[in-house]
Symmetry: D3
Subunit: 247 residues, 6 copies
C-alpha cells in the first residue's frame, strides 16, 4: 500500500516548485504539497510563526480528510506542530524537532546553520523544549533572509559552507543541521565543503529527513501521543473557519 | 505621573467583570482591560492558545497607541508573549513567566495548581523555556474547566486547597502558584487553607502579581530586550488586519 | 534499489526465529540476521554487555563486506554501538538510542518498561549519554529474565501492561518504550492494554522501530558522523581476530 | 498607606550618600538606609561576605522592629539573604537574586558585568542556586575594586560599556546586569553605550530594580516562604548580640 | 612523616568526646580537634551556619600555624568551607562536599539521611553548588534535633535505618550518606540494617570519610585551587579578631 | 595491616616500568601491577577500550583472589570499571571518575588535557555519566598519541603546559586534570608552568590520585555499591575464559 505524506509549506509565498519533491515519489510513497492562503510570506520571527498556525491546522485537517498518512510542516520553526497534533490523529512531524533528534542519533553534538542571527532565541527555546540542550553545539547564521535564499543559491551555499566549518571548528559540532527549510537541496554541497576542509561530518537537510522519518513512522504504525496532545474541547471560536474533520 | 497598565484577556468570553481590577486603581496606577473579538472562548490547549495570539498582538498595538505603559496578558499560557514583544516597545508581561520567577525568588521550589491535568506538557515546556526547571516541584490539577471555575468558586477553592496541600507534602513545593488566571481572587483562601494544614507557604495569584510587577517595570524604566524580540521584518501578510503602530 | 539491513543479535542463544522479521521483507527492503559465536547467552548487566562488543564489531564488518546498507544491533543495551561506528562506514543503529529519540519526538515524556530492576543504572546512564534526561519519565521492570520472556509470552505481556499503566499514571509517561528486544511483538498488546485503561499512549517496539529508522537513514543518505566515531588507529591487538574490512 | 523599605548596606564604609535614594521617596514610598558597624569595608570574596552576615541579620531585625515593610540587601553577593529570611517575617530581597530573575523575564539570556574576575565562582554558584544557569550568558569584569568605583565614575562607566558590549557580542547576552551595587547609577550610560554600538539591550541596575520589586512584593502582599526559611530554633549562641524581634 | 589533620567542630557545645577520633591515630596520622568559642550551640539552619563561619576561619588559621597539613570542618553544612579556603593554603575539606563526591564515585545515585526536614533547601543548594544534582536521590530526615542525637543513639540508629531503607526503596538511592556529623559512628549499624532488608548498599559516615580523604589529599600533594579561592584583599574589618597567618 | 592495591594497566604494551610506583610502597601500602595479555597495545578509541574490558575483569578477579584490597584501572577511559565492579567485591576505581571528582572537590571548574582531540566525545560522555557536566570546563589535547608520550617527555610536558594555560585562560578551568595515564609524572612540571604563567591551579595526576583514593577507600571500609553493580547472573558464556573467584 502506498504511503501518502502531505507537506504543508506554512507561508503564502510560492517558495516551493512542484518538482521539489519529485525525488520522493515512488510506487510506495506519494508526497503531496500545499501552502497557506492566510499567513505570512515567510517566517523569520515568532509573530510570523504565530500567524501561520491557524493555516497549518486547517491544512492538517484537510490532509487527514484527504487520506494522507502523515503531515510534514515545511518550516524550521515547527509552526503549529503541537496544535495540529491536538487536532488530527495522523502523525504530524516538524523538521526542526525531527532533524535535531536525527542529528543527536548520528553523532556527538550538532550545530545548526540558519538564515538570520535573530533566530537564536527561537532555536535555543526549541532545543530546550525538545530536550536536546546537552547535544546542541549552537547556532550560526548566513545572514540572508529566507526569500533571498533561492535568488542566489550559490551565495547561499558558499555562506553555508563557511558557517558549517565554523560550527565544526569553533562550536565543536559533529553533525550539521541546515536551519531553514528554504535551504532545501544544499546539504550535499555543504557536506562536500566540509569534507574538503577535512571534516567527515553529516549534513542534515531537514525536510527530506522529515519526509523519510514520516514514512518510517507510517511503516512502524506510530503516531504522536494523544495523551500529550489531547483533542481541543468543544467550545465557541470566533473569527476562524476550520474544515470539519471526517469521522 | 500615573502609570497605565492594559490587561488583555485573550479570549472572547466575558470572564472578567469590570470591577475585577478595582483594587488596583489609584492616583498613581490605572488598570484598563480589554478582551478579544476573534479567538477561543477559553484556553485549555495549544490549539486554542494559537488562536488567541493574533488578537493579543492587535490589542498590544492598541495598548501602546492608547498610551499604556505596559501590557499584561491575562492567561497562564502566556499566549502571544514573544510575538507581542516583537511588535511593541512597552513592556509585555505574561503571568506564567512573571509568577514563576517571583515564586523562585520567594522560596526553595514552587508548585503549580491548575485547572486540567492535560496542561502538564504546556506547563513543563514553559518552565523549561523560562529556565526554571530546577525550581519546579511539579503540576497539580483541580480537574475543573476554566469556564466552570467562577460558576462555583467554593468548589474551586476547596479543590485548590486540597491540591495545594498535596503539592507541599508530596511534591515538596515551598511556594504555590495558581495555574489559571480564572482563579483570580482565590489566593488568600488557599493560603489560609495551607496555614490551617500547618504550612506557612506563599500563594501567588498570577494576574495581580504580574500587574504589580509591570508597575515595577515601569518605575524602573525597564522593558523587554528588543535584541531578543526584534521587530518583524516588513513583508506581506494575508488574511490578518493589524492596527498601525503609532510612530 | 533494494535496501539491505543486517540485524545483529549480540548473544549466542537462538532467541530469534528465522521468521521474526518476515514482516519487513519486501521488494524494497531485505532484512538479514546473524548472532554471535562468542559472547553471553543473554545480556542483563554491563559485564555481559562488554563480552558482546567484540562480536558485534566483527559482525558489523561482515555486514558491510556483505553489502548491507545499515546495521541494527538487537539489544537495548546498544552493545558495541560506538565501537562498531568507529570501524564501519554504513550506519549502525542501536535500538535504545533510536527508540528513545523516536519516543521523544512522539510525545511529552517517555517511560521504559524492561526486564529487571537491576538495569536502572544502565538505562539512566544511556539516557544521560544520549542527552534525553529531561524527556525521561523513568524505568519500570517486569522482573522476568530475558531468556524466560518467550517461554511465557502471556505472562510477559500481562506484566508489561501492568507496568506500562504504572509508568503512565505514576511516572507520568506519555509514550512507552519496551525496554528489552526480547519483548519483540508485544507492543500491540501493551498499547491495547493502555487503551483499555483509558490512555491513548504509543508503545514503541524498539527493534522494528530501529529497522524502519535504519531504512529511513538509507533513504536520506545519512550515516553516523565519522568525526564523532573516527576509525581506530592501526596498532597491534592481541587475542582477537576481526574480519578485514573490504576497501 | 506609605510603603517603607529599608536598604541595608552590608559594609562598614560610607559608600552610600544620603541622597542616593532621593529619587525613590514619594508619598507612597519611603526608603531608609543603614550600614554595618561590624564587618568588612567592602565585599569582594566569600570571607568578607561571611563577616557581613551577622550584621545584616541584626539590621533586618531592627528594620522589622522599626516598621519597615521590606528589606533590601545592598550587595550583589546577597550576604545574609537566607539567614535574614529565617529570622524576620517581612520580605528580604537580595539584588543578585532579584536582578537575575528580572533579567530572565526581560530577555533571552543575561550577562553580568562585575568588578573583579575573582568573583566568577561566587556568581556561578549563586546563578546555580537561584536556578538560572540556563539563562546565564556568563560574567565579565572591569577589573576595578569596589571602593575605587566611585573615585572615578567615568573610568568605571567606560569599562562597563566595553565589557557590556563584549557580553552581548561574545557571550550572546540579551540583557546586561550590573554586577556590583557600587555601580549604582551607571545603568543609563551603559545602555546608551550599547545603543551606540547597535544593541537595544536593557541594563539592570540591581539596587533600584530590587527596591521597586520590594515595593511590588509589599503591594501584592507577598513575602518569602517561611516553609523554606523556618525560624532558627531557640538555643545558646556565644559571642553575638542580636536585637530582640518585637512580637 | 606523620600527617596532621585538624578537625574543627564549628559549634560551642561539647559534642565531641576526646576519644571520638582515637581510631585514626597512628604513626603516620595524627588527628587533633578543636571547637568554637563564639558561635551557635549546634547548626540547624543558615543563620546558625553563618554564625559559625568567623570561628571556623580563625580555627583554620590556627591549624595552619600549628603545622596541621589539612583541615576538616565537622558539620554537614560545610560552614566556612570557601571562606577558610580563601584564607589558608593547606587543604580545607567539608564533609558534605567530600562525602557526596565519594558517594557519587561509589554507586549510581546517593540519598542523604539527616536530622530535620527543614534542611532540605540547604542540602539541595549544596548538591547543586557541588554539581551533583544528577546523582542525588533526595533527602530523608529522622526528625531528631542535633543535640538529642547522642542522648539516645539507639533511637537515632533505628530511625536512620528506617529512613535509609525508604531512601533505597522509594528514592532509589544506591549509596546512603549520613546527613549530620552528629551521627558519627552509626554507619555500620545502618549498613547492617540495610543488609538485613536485602540491600547491599554502602553507608558513608561523612567525618571519617573526610578525614581519610584529607589524608589522601596530603599524600597526593593536593590542595584546593587558590585560583578559585583567592586570598581576601587587605582591608579594614571591624568587630572581628583573627589570628595572624604565619608567613 | 598493610593495604594492597593492584594497578591493572589495561593494554598489552609495556608502558609501565617496574619502578613507576616505587614512591607508593611503604610498610602500610603495597602497590602491585599487571597488564593484559589480550587486548590493544594502547587505548585511543571506544573500539580499543572495548577490547580491554574482558582482560580488565579477569585481572580484577585475580587481584581479589590474590588478596588485593582494591583495584585501580590504569587508563583514563576507565575501561571495564562497571563490569569489574559487578564481578568483584573489593573496590574498583577508575582514574577518570576518581580524578574528576577530586577535581570537583578542589575548585570551581576543572579542565582536562588529553592526548588526542578525537577523545572529546568519550570524555564528554564520561563526564555526563559521572554527573559532573556542570563542573567541566572542557577538553584540550596535545595531539600526541599515547605510545609517543614517553618517547619525548619534554615535548609532551611543553605541550601540556601550553594546553593547560589555554584551559585556564580560555575555558576558565580552575583545576587541571591530566587526561591520559601515560602522562604519569608530568603533573609537577605542568603545575610549575601554570604558576610561572600566574595561575595557582592544582594539576591532578590521575593514577597517583586514584591510588591514594583507593587507599582511603580501604581505610574507610568503603567499596562500590553492590546494589548498583549486582553480580552477573549465572549463564553460558562462549569464547572467554575467566578465573574463578575464590569464595
Amino acid at each position: 500500500m502506498s504511503k501518502h505524506i502531505r507537506v504543508i509549506t506554512p507561508i503564502t509565498s510560492d517558495l516551493r516548485a512542484a518538482s521539489d519533491f519529485d525525488g520522493f515519489q515512488s510506487p510506495s510513497l506519494t508526497v503531496t504539497t500545499t501552502r497557506l492562503e492566510t499567513g505570512p510570506a515567510s517566517i523569520e520571527c515568532e509573530f510570523e510563526e504565530a500567524l501561520a498556525v491557524p493555516g497549518v491546522v486547517a491544512r492538517a485537517i484537510e490532509a487527514q480528510n484527504d487520506g494522507a498518512n502523515a503531515v510534514v510542516i515545511d518550516c524550521m520553526g515547527d509552526p503549529g506542530l503541537n496544535a495540529a497534533r491536538e487536532v488530527v490523529a495522523i502523525p504530524v512531524l516538524g523538521p526542526c524537532q525531527t532533524a535535531l533528534h536525527l542529528a543527536a542519533i548520528s553523532g556527538h553534538k550538532f550545530g545548526v546553520v540558519t538564515v538570520l542571527e535573530r533566530l537564536e532565541p527561537l532555536f535555543d527555546d526549541m532545543v530546550a523544549t525538545y530536550g536536546l540542550t546537552s547535544k546542541y553545539a549552537g547556532l550560526r547564521a548566513v545572514d540572508i533572509p529566507v526569500l533571498e535564499l533561492e535568488q542566489d543559491m550559490e551565495r547561499c551555499t558558499c555562506a553555508l559552507i563557511e558557517q558549517a566549518i565554523c560550527s565544526v571548528i569553533e562550536d565543536r559540532a559533529h553533525v550539521v543541521v541546515l536551519g531553514c527549510t528554504g535551504m532545501l537541496g544544499c546539504a550535499e554541497a555543504v557536506r562536500a565543503g566540509l569534507l574538503d576542509a577535512g571534516f567527515d561530518v553529516p549534513v542534515i537537510d531537514p525536510v527530506p529527513a522529515t519526509i523519510w522519518t514520516a514514512a518510517a513512522f507510517i511503516d512502524m504504525g506510530l503516531s504522536h501521543s494523544k495523551h500529550s496532545y489531547q483533542p481541543p474541547p468543544e467550545k465557541p471560536i470566533a473569527g476562524y473557519e476550520f474544515p470539519v474533520l471526517d469521522a
